[in-house]
């Protein structure tokens, strides 16, 4: 089971054509087409109920589609489910490990189910525990693991068979930021080793961090797709929100940021109702520059935060409407400060 054995078809590890799955009246998948190029990460972005999980379940042979076709690592989901299962790994929103079993036992069992010899299964389990920093917890039941450890064990279980395609279904939903970063780092590492990843997420930030390309789905249909940079360009970057300690300083602060003419920063707007100044930024360097500027001017601050475009804004953006439409609704008294 090495990667060299995997048949290739035009460089796409996943090919989905016209996939349909209805649950009664609900059209979970309503004609989905997508490709994931080998060795890349496709982010499937969509709100709850968009059909993301159904897509993953069809692609991992858990449910049969009503119509359409899908090939994963050269195997047809309908006619070659067994071979397909040899080539995939799945980590879901809910950890799919046996909580009563120790970490090691979980991984050893998976190894045996993948036809490794006892010795190889033991070795591979130890290897994976080491890699996912779980060696110390190897003998503890998974029920005693923290959320992050459990997710890591789940990833380790998915990686035992060296899958060529890995599905990550909302892998960081419900995790704290630190654990989320750990999971992201691990996913990057797997991709670095040549694994193709199909990642579903509700978070724009997660898609940005991990994906090479994005597919946005809503109500079972693909509504946009493309490279992350392209979509980002459509959607715009982040918004830096600065809350001065004294609300009376709002205008002065916005003015100061605008006048400074920092690289790439067009201007700042004071939102008097919200008591914040909004500064659209596209890079971390700009964030640092703005913060430094505020320090130089000696503004007393009550809070500072960055705000990514929400999924709603992404949808508005990709469906042709301006993302700022929602922002304007949120802050009706938005006031432009003259440069």
């Amino acid at each position: 089971m090495t990667r060299n054995d995997i048949p290739r078809s035009d460089g796409n590890a996943v090919e989905v054509r016209g996939l349909v799955k209805h649950f009664g009246e609900t059209k979970a998948l309503d004609g989905v087409d997508l490709d994931v190029r080998e060795g890349t990460v496709l982010g499937v972005l969509g709100p709850n109920g968009a059909g993301k999980t159904t897509l993953v379940r069809v692609l991992s042979t858990l449910i049969r589609p009503d119509a359409g076709s899908a090939r994963v690592a050269g195997c047809d989901v309908l006619t070659q489910p067994r071979e397909l299962r040899r080539r995939i790994g799945l980590t879901g929103q809910y950890a799919s490990v046996d909580e009563k079993l120790a970490g090691f036992e979980n991984l050893y069992m998976i190894g045996r189910l993948l036809d490794l010899s006892r010795k190889d299964a033991r070795r591979r389990a130890a290897e994976m525990l080491e890699r996912f920093s779980l060696t110390e917890a190897a003998k503890r039941p998974a029920a005693q693991y923290s959320g992050g450890m459990r997710r890591r064990l789940d990833l380790a279980a998915s990686m035992i068979g060296r899958p060529s395609v890995l599905y990550l279904d909302e892998p960081t939903t419900g995790l704290d930021p630190r654990t989320r970063n750990e999971v992201w780092a691990e996913v990057r590492r797997m991709v670095g080793e040549g694994t193709t990843v199909l990642l579903t997420t509700q978070y724009m930030e997660e898609a940005e961090q991990l994906a090479d390309e994005l597919t946005v789905i809503d109500r079972g249909r693909v509504i946009a797709g493309g490279r992350v940079e392209e979509l980002k360009a459509k959607i715009g970057g982040r918004t830096l929100q600065i809350r001065p300690a004294d609300p009376a300083e709002l205008l002065r602060l916005a003015d100061a940021v605008t006048r400074a003419g920092l690289d790439g920063i067009a201007g700042a707007t004071a939102d008097e109702a919200g008591g914040v100044v909004n500064v659209p930024i596209v890079s971390d360097a700009q964030l640092t520059a703005v913060v430094a500027l505020l320090g130089e001017h000696g503004f007393a601050l009550a809070g500072i935060s960055t705000h990514l475009p929400s999924l709603d804004e992404v949808f508005l953006a990709v469906t042709g409407q301006k993302a700022s439409a929602t922002a304007a609704q949120d802050t009706p008294e938005l006031q432009e400060v003259a440069a």
Partner: protein, 274 residues
């Protein structure tokens, strides 16, 4: 051995492999090990297998034994009761499988099993293998208690073992029913409720605890069709001596019939469960 180890040249379509018998047995072994480790992690789950035989034999021998067999004849009643209880152990353990599987199958780990290149039946078979082990433990304790209370085998050890094997065979076939039930019903409580509803009349409307000759005619005919009566009679005659051929064959026929009908349904249900 498997298609995955065969190097497929680029663009050649993948051949759908089959799971060989040895691989299948290995998978069942790995999954049975999981079930055993679960018991190890939660020893209280063995209480039913350990305590039920003790409670039932004491309760029936001393509370009802005198009335059924006559005061002072408790020892004779033990020889009547123990083979009957051997039949009951199977039913009780099988019922626990239904509730256990309902809980187990709600967990994410079942999704993992279903996305692995293993026969889906192996998950269910592994569970049954371990539960047969639990049945054997319960039956051994029952027999131990029985001997302590004066049980005597008037045939041979071979006959006694045959009675145990027959009980396990029938119990294993019952498990498929409860697995099907466990996979069909929404909650473990519902499984328990339905199981009790079915179990109580089958248990008591049988020759397990008392001879059926003193029951009203309609009940007597019900008990004569009750497979548990057949199993109890078979074990009884195997241990105490008496004609066994008919009741043994009827019991084996029931076991085969139940398995043939419910096992494929249970596996299909497991396959479709999402």
């Amino acid at each position: 051995m498997s298609a995955a180890t065969v190097s497929a040249p680029a663009t050649t379509p993948v051949r759908e492999g089959r799971i060989g018998l040895r691989a299948n047995l290995r998978h069942i072994g790995a999954l049975a090990r999981r079930n055993l480790l679960q018991i190890k992690a939660d020893p209280e789950s063995m209480f039913d297998a350990l305590l039920m035989p003790v409670i039932f034999i004491l309760l029936f021998t001393y509370v009802f034994g005198g009335s059924i067999a006559g005061k002072g004849h408790e020892k004779e009643y033990v020889n009547y009761l123990v083979p009957g209880l051997m039949a009951m152990m199977g039913l009780n353990i099988a019922m626990a499988v239904g509730t256990g599987i309902n809980d187990d199958f709600k967990k994410g780990v079942m999704d993992r099993f279903r996305t692995m290149p293993i026969a889906r039946s192996s998950v269910l078979i592994a569970k049954i293998v371990v539960e047969i082990g639990r049945m054997l433990v319960a039956t051994s304790i029952l027999l131990g208690m029985g001997f302590a209370l004066g049980l005597s085998v008037s045939t041979s050890v071979f006959h006694l073992l045959a009675a145990v094997a027959l009980g396990l065979t029938f119990g294993a076939s019952l498990m498929w029913i409860f697995i099907l039930l466990g996979l069909t019903m929404k909650t473990a409580q519902a499984v328990q409720g339905v199981a009790m509803l079915v179990m109580m009349p089958l248990q008591f409307g049988s020759s397990i605890f008392a001879p059926t000759t003193k029951m009203p005619g309609w009940l007597e005919s019900f008990t004569s069709y009750n497979p548990l009566s057949n199993l109890a009679d078979a074990s009884r005659n195997l241990i105490n001596g008496g004609p066994v051929a008919h009741s043994v064959w009827v019991t084996l026929a029931w076991s085969a019939g139940i398995t043939i009908v419910t096992a494929p349904l249970a596996v299909a249900k497991f396959r479709k469960k999402t």
